[in-house]
Assembly symmetry: C2
Homo-oligomer: 656 residues x 2
């Protein structure tokens, strides 16, 4: 197997430290609020909340306690996501007490492991004879995938390999049971994630068989005779989503993955699969698999993605629907799906250093991902709408999934811990390393105030980035080269949304090559060199493709990577009556005390006056409408629903 | 009890005959297609369709056959609706063979009646001990209500009273079991209709106790302690919709009817109830009940009705949602609900001769009612959308109830027979009689080519109406007065949509008084007098109130009472890209061979060109859009989906 080399490989989390600004605030929230709260939740210590049963299940499974299995069939994954977030958090912010708690939790989890390596409390408690008989619906391999990711993160943070060894034993068991060989199970997970986890495990352990197993799961998926169809028919178990209009494509298992040309079915599963496909394609140099990834990528970002980076437009099946079907008010846009899109984007970047991938990664991160968490880190959205009418959420069943305020915690708590693990590990998404004409390239994908250390051109390099991004477009990167100088290429991402920028070294213009979204500066850097990128950040109006029915005649407002919205709190109700001109100008203001610190925008729009002929009437002969001026105040979309509950909209009508 | 007298009382069906034109065609369809087809369906003789079990149930219930109950719990009502349509059809078009079939059917139905008068096959077959124990959900009183209406129609058509006597005995049983008195059931129907049926029965039989029972059902509804809540709690039966967010208002039973200020819950049930309320208010002179009717009327027509007269915007619960929530593409708009609105409107007219009631009656009839039937009378819509995208119906669960083509017949076949009974009895909606200053008034609500005979000013009057309405605005009414002359008031409705009209007698201007939507001509009419009303019919653009989010920035096109639409067949796909100017002019053409004969409209609009910056991109910086001219061809909304399956829209964007 030959590895492709033109991409940007992520760097280790411990080499990057976000020290201030936008993301630092979110990382602190995760560390001080989400992780401790989640631990209490896993242990059923949240007053008023339905018990999670998660740690309890491990006690029952290990024989420390009598009892039955509680919670969802995939409840184990809650621990796995927590330990992964803990691993990342300890990497960027050591905390001996948290580490002690985690060690004890790992002891408990490992004590439930069976002699053959099996470790899933649902089947340990309910009967091992049924294990691996309901791959389509019982999330066994999904839980293992999460456990792998958690074990790896914890191992990399602490060097402690107890959990890692446990999941290796479990992975080895799975490897011995699944595969093309006679007598093995020719199956694959109903909810993907194990594919990308296995690739990580192969990297960490150096064991190629884990990569082969990932490849097997991907290659086998959707082949005929269809494993899920046979499994369900044989078992007599309910068909579940397999009998919905999605059919087996709900699980992305209706046809072989290389024949899948549109993002279909459950959105989180889809992007988790595609992430694994991108990993395996890169690791194995599999062109046909890589082409499938590119096709599916295009399907999402060119036809099935909200401007906030949210995906999965339908509540039913938490799923994709069809091209350009992007309703703003009945959207699902699960937080986890946007997170999965970030996973997929980074993996595409690993094979091909193309700005579009990093653009989408950033688009999702600043909008549809962090909109999932309140500014105090204590409440969460599953669903991330682009338009909200409280009365509709309350009175229309088809929009009742759209919540007007974030919820404390969920019975099926997938989004909060998923946010925790992504935000804590964000350092791994900011840089990449690659090669160009035999030399080394340091890719700088995402900009945040912080430090990083690399070895570049065989020399040690300390990098310090100073920026108020995304509020300000100036990004200054200082190179400390203890050995004096180093020759390498520094590739800065020029965001696709940016039309004008300047790039200087030590205040002077410099030579660079722009290619596919990156400015490549190839030179011998001197200790103390400062590269300054200035991105023009003025607010801009954005249209959707005219194929998007729900956005036609409308625009949204963006500034840098941040999508803005109108809230009732600032603008009153009846936001659908608002209209802005296509050449509206905006006043920008840095408001450190508002919503955790934001740049707010203000413009003068208009609002439809109620014409006199409508006094009491619902339909009347058309007369040209009368609009009255209205000052509109915009806030970043991610910050909505942190004050009073009310209307919100991202898209507004444009006068053209 | 004192009867209010200022309204327009409906006339008997046998006094009015539609002889040609628009409605004649629909009446012929019902007679030649729907009624015979339905009879086959009731007898399980439709190949490929799920059996109805309806007549079979009567055979089993009467002991003529062994078997179990089949179909829905309200399957008996299918016979009741059929016999009602048959009654009306025989009135306007005698048919000895059909009458013979009906007589035999009545013999069978009556043979299932129990000694105490009870007649509902579900409980006769499954156990009489459970009768009247699940009023909330088992439609027993609903079936009886329909049976009353059927029996009355058949009696009035043929003079045969076998079925009428049977339902009287059943009604007497119900009257003995329900009521405020100690030991009686203080209940009421879960699905209303019996209220208006009882008022009819009181009229036909002269027995006031049926009116008192109707009043009891209405007055008792929603009182505390709540009957449904207690019934469900006592029985341990499922809560059904009572536990949905609608609560008991799903059945309009969450509070006393006089405290209900918004149309809520299941739309068909709601308008059936309101119809009965209007009947009882009129019959008893109950001001508070009449005020409740007016409040609920306003709630519907001023805030919760589509421009097509369709009501019930949500699929979930087939229900009303909230004010101004009128989505065009996910609408329910059940055919039966629009029919129920016609019932309600005519009853409001009976108390108060106000053009608004007749306007809405007409609006529903020409649009949301007959859109429910194909032009060949062989297929039917339950759901009447104002915007259709075939891909959404196929791939989006939340729009999967919106069918792109009418269906052959339904398992729960409520809409086709409901259409049959309304269309056959349309004569009863066209005229009304009332009094004014002690003299008689003949109200002419709806215009159709036809004849009618009345006694006016104590003299016999034969009326002949000549019109091509709704295609042409000229309505000529000729009075034949065998006794030479007669003094009375002839009140012609001037539709609310009409801004300009002329009114002449024998070609000369005449004196009249315009009040509340009617032109009152008070004079001594001479034999041979011809009153000609000319309504200006040019196409007009209509806006919805700006409170309607889904129609903002849009207009629809109407001509006379007919709402128009764009279909893909005529205009290509991507109808959301179309825009018209606020001063668009239309070319009108009578096309006798198209869609059963229509006036089509044509105008020049524009369509959004795909801007070049969107090549492959989903979101881009806003630039003013480029529109190219496009000729748009409009057809009447009711005639949509009679050619190829494709997109359709009623509302289009307007450039203003």
């Amino acid at each position: 197997m030959k590895e492709k080399t033109s991409g940007a490989h992520p760097v280790d989390l411990d080499t990057v430290k976000i020290t201030g600004g936008f993301w630092s605030r979110f990382q602190d929230l995760v560390r001080t609020q989400v992780i401790p709260y989640q631990w209490e939740a896993l242990n059923d210590r949240i007053e008023g909340a339905a018990p999670s049963h998660c740690m309890e299940n491990f006690k029952v499974a290990s024989g420390q306690k009598e009892g039955t299995f509680g919670g969802c069939v995939f409840q184990d994954s809650d621990f796995a996501k927590w330990i992964e977030a803990v691993g990342y958090s300890l990497t960027i912010h050591p905390d001996p007490e948290l580490e002690k708690t985690a060690d004890e939790a790992i002891d408990l989890v490992c004590s439930a492991q069976q002699p053959d390596g099996y470790l899933n409390t649902y089947y340990i408690i309910n009967g091992l004879e049924d294990r691996f008989t309901n791959l389509a619906h019982n999330h066994e391999l999904y839980c293992l995938g999460h456990l792998m990711e958690g074990a790896i993160a914890y191992y990399q943070a602490t060097g402690k390999d107890k959990l890692l060894n446990a999941v290796r034993r479990y992975a080895d068991l799975v490897d011995s049971l699944f595969g093309a060989e006679e007598g093995k199970l020719q199956g694959y997970p109903g909810h993907e994630i194990i594919e990308m986890a296995l690739v990580k495990l192969a990297d960490v352990t150096g064991e190629e068989r884990y990569l082969r197993l990932a490849k097997y799961f991907i290659d086998q998926r959707g082949q005929e005779p269809n494993y899920f169809r046979e499994e369900i028919e044989k078992s007599g178990k309910p068909w579940g989503w397999a009998k919905s209009p999605f059919g087996l494509q709900y699980y992305q298992a209706g046809k072989p993955v290389r024949e899948q040309t549109a993002a279909e079915g459950h959105a989180v599963r889809a992007v988790y699969l595609y992430s694994g496909m991108a990993d395996v394609a890169r690791k194995t140099g599999d062109e046909s698999l890589w082409n499938a990834c590119r096709t599916l990528w295009d399907s999402i970002v060119r036809r099935r993605m909200y401007v906030t980076g949210s995906i999965g437009s339908a509540h039913y099946g938490e799923s994709f629907t069809f091209d350009y079907d992007l309703p703003n008010d009945s959207v699902y846009g699960e937080t986890c799906a946007a997170i999965g899109l970030v996973f997929f984007a980074r993996r595409m970047l690993e094979t091909e250093a193309k700005g579009e991938y990093a653009d989408v990664m950033e688009q999702a991160l600043y909008n549809g991902v962090i909109s999932g968490m309140s500014l105090d880190g204590r409440s969460f959205f599953y669903v991330n709408p682009l338009e909200v009418l409280p009365e509709a959420s309350e009175k229309d069943h088809d929009r009742s999934h759209v919540k007007v305020q974030r919820q404390k915690w969920f019975g099926c708590a997938c989004c909060p811990p998923n946010l925790a693990r992504l935000v804590s590990s964000l350092g791994m998404y900011m840089y990449g390393t690659g090669t160009l004409d035999g030399g080394e390239v340091l890719y700088h994908h995402l900009y945040a105030d912080g430090r990083a250390s690399f070895t570049l051109g065989s020399k040690r390099a300390e990098i310090r980035t100073e920026t108020r991004y995304p509020w300000d477009g100036t990004i200054k990167t200082l190179f400390s080269l203890p050995e004096g100088s180093a020759s390498f290429t520094y590739a800065l991402r020029i965001p696709g949304w940016c039309d004008r920028y300047t790039l200087t070294v030590n205040g002077q213009p410099l030579e660079y090559r722009f290619s596919d979204g990156y400015a490549y500066i190839s030179r011998t850097f001197q200790d103390g060199d400062a590269v300054t990128l200035e991105l023009e950040m003025s607010p801009r109006l954005i249209s959707a493709s005219p194929e998007v029915r729900d956005d036609i005649g409308k625009v949204c407002v963006c500034r840098g990577p941040v999508v803005y919205c109108l809230e009732q709190e600032d603008n009153g109700a009846k936001l659908h009556k608002v209209r802005i001109s296509g050449n509206t100008s905006f006043r920008e203001a840095w408001e450190p005390e508002t919503l955790g610190g934001i740049v707010s925008l203000e413009c003068t729009g208009t609002s439809l006056d109620k014409p006199s002929q409508f006094a009491g009437a619902l339909y009347q002969r058309y007369t040209p409408p009368v609009y009255k001026p209205q000052v509109l105040r915009w806030i970043p979309y991610y910050a909505w629903a942190n004050r009073s509950a009310g209307e919100m909209t991202v898209w507004v009508r444009v006068q053209d």
